[in-house]
Amino acid sequence: MQHDPSATHKGQQHPISLYLKVWGLLFLLSAMSYLVDYMHVQGIVRWVLIVTFMLLKAGLILSIFMHLAWERLSLIYAILVPPLVLLVLVRIMTIEANYAFWTRAIFMGGGG
């Protein structure tokens, strides 16, 4: 995979058909996530489906269109590992949002 320095030296060369396939897949995944809304899928199923389609699309764009699949592992990790700390931020802000919500609901009569 990343043992071929010539791949990046001469530039990324991949068959056009690969891009067309990914393009088709992205269309399909977008259409499916749109259908989730159109068919009024609700609750936990909706969230799981939306996030799954979202991650699949993001993975396809990152790995194929942005050529991450053919880069050196050092670059891949330098790009993909730092955003993981955002999960900590999300966790902290979930707690904060709950606190703000209940403070508003209890002490401000729910009127915001």
Partner: protein
């Protein structure tokens, strides 16, 4: 006598590669075009900006006491007498994905030194970007003039909807605008044969990285803001 196993057989070669890349007294991103490495680092910082917006959106939505508007109805369009939920956003999504497809092919033809096809595909990409921006302008004006949504006020319920909507889609639209300008600049350089002199078409790939990133961000906005 038990011989110690040479660790090059134990440790996966890719992990050894990482170790030598980061520990050796030289560049970490060997064999990577400097401009590409810098663009990736810029995109990483941009990832954090957009993540902060989306996390802020999550916080505001979770702490809102007034009802959150139903995005499927807010962004519905009446086509042929039929109310289609979220259809405008779906078309915008398809426009952006298509532009990513043409951009990926432009990069390919760039490295093949096919100036005509590269320029044409980049111009098509920019055109899709303009289509996206046009629809976003329509979406904004509909929300501002017909629904009366403001960054501080929203007649359909939670005012946080207006704040996050204009902030997130506005910042993304700004990125698309910059991307279109960047694409036009690089495309005109390709057309004039600028990169043939140096023999290096990496600029097309670097502009492509930025463009794909804009599409990538939209994937997350589409999922979290419009579908959630």
């Amino acid at each position: 006598m038990a011989q110690a196993v040479p660790d090059r057989e134990v440790i996966a070669p890719t992990l050894r590669e990482i170790a030598s890349d980061w520990s050796a007294d030289q560049e970490v991103f060997r064999h990577t075009h400097w401009g590409k490495a810098m663009m990736w680092i810029f995109l990483l910082s941009d990832t954090f900006i957009f993540s902060c917006f989306l996390t802020g959106y999550m916080t505001m939505r979770a702490s809102a006491v007034l009802p959150w508007p139903n995005t499927a109805e807010v962004f519905a369009l009446n086509i042929g007498g039929q109310e289609l939920p979220l259809v405008l956003i779906a078309i915008m999504t398809f426009a952006l994905i298509s532009s990513s497809g043409t951009m990926a092919m432009a990069v390919n033809f760039g490295y093949q030194r096919d100036r005509r096809k590269t320029t044409a595909l980049m111009l098509i990409t920019a055109l899709f970007g303009l289509v996206f921006l046009g629809m976003q302008a329509f979406e904004w004006s509909k929300l501002i003039f017909e629904e009366g949504v403001r960054p501080w006020y929203n007649p359909m319920g939670a005012p946080q909807f207006g704040a996050t909507f204009f902030m997130i889609t506005g910042f993304h639209g700004l990125h698309v605008t910059c991307g279109v300008i960047l694409l036009l600049i690089i495309a005109s350089k390709v057309a004039r044969g600028h990169y043939d002199k140096a023999g290096d078409y990496s600029a097309v790939e670097i502009a492509g990285l930025y463009w794909h990133f804009v599409d990538l961000v939209w994937v997350f906005i589409f999922a979290f803001f419009y579908l959630w």
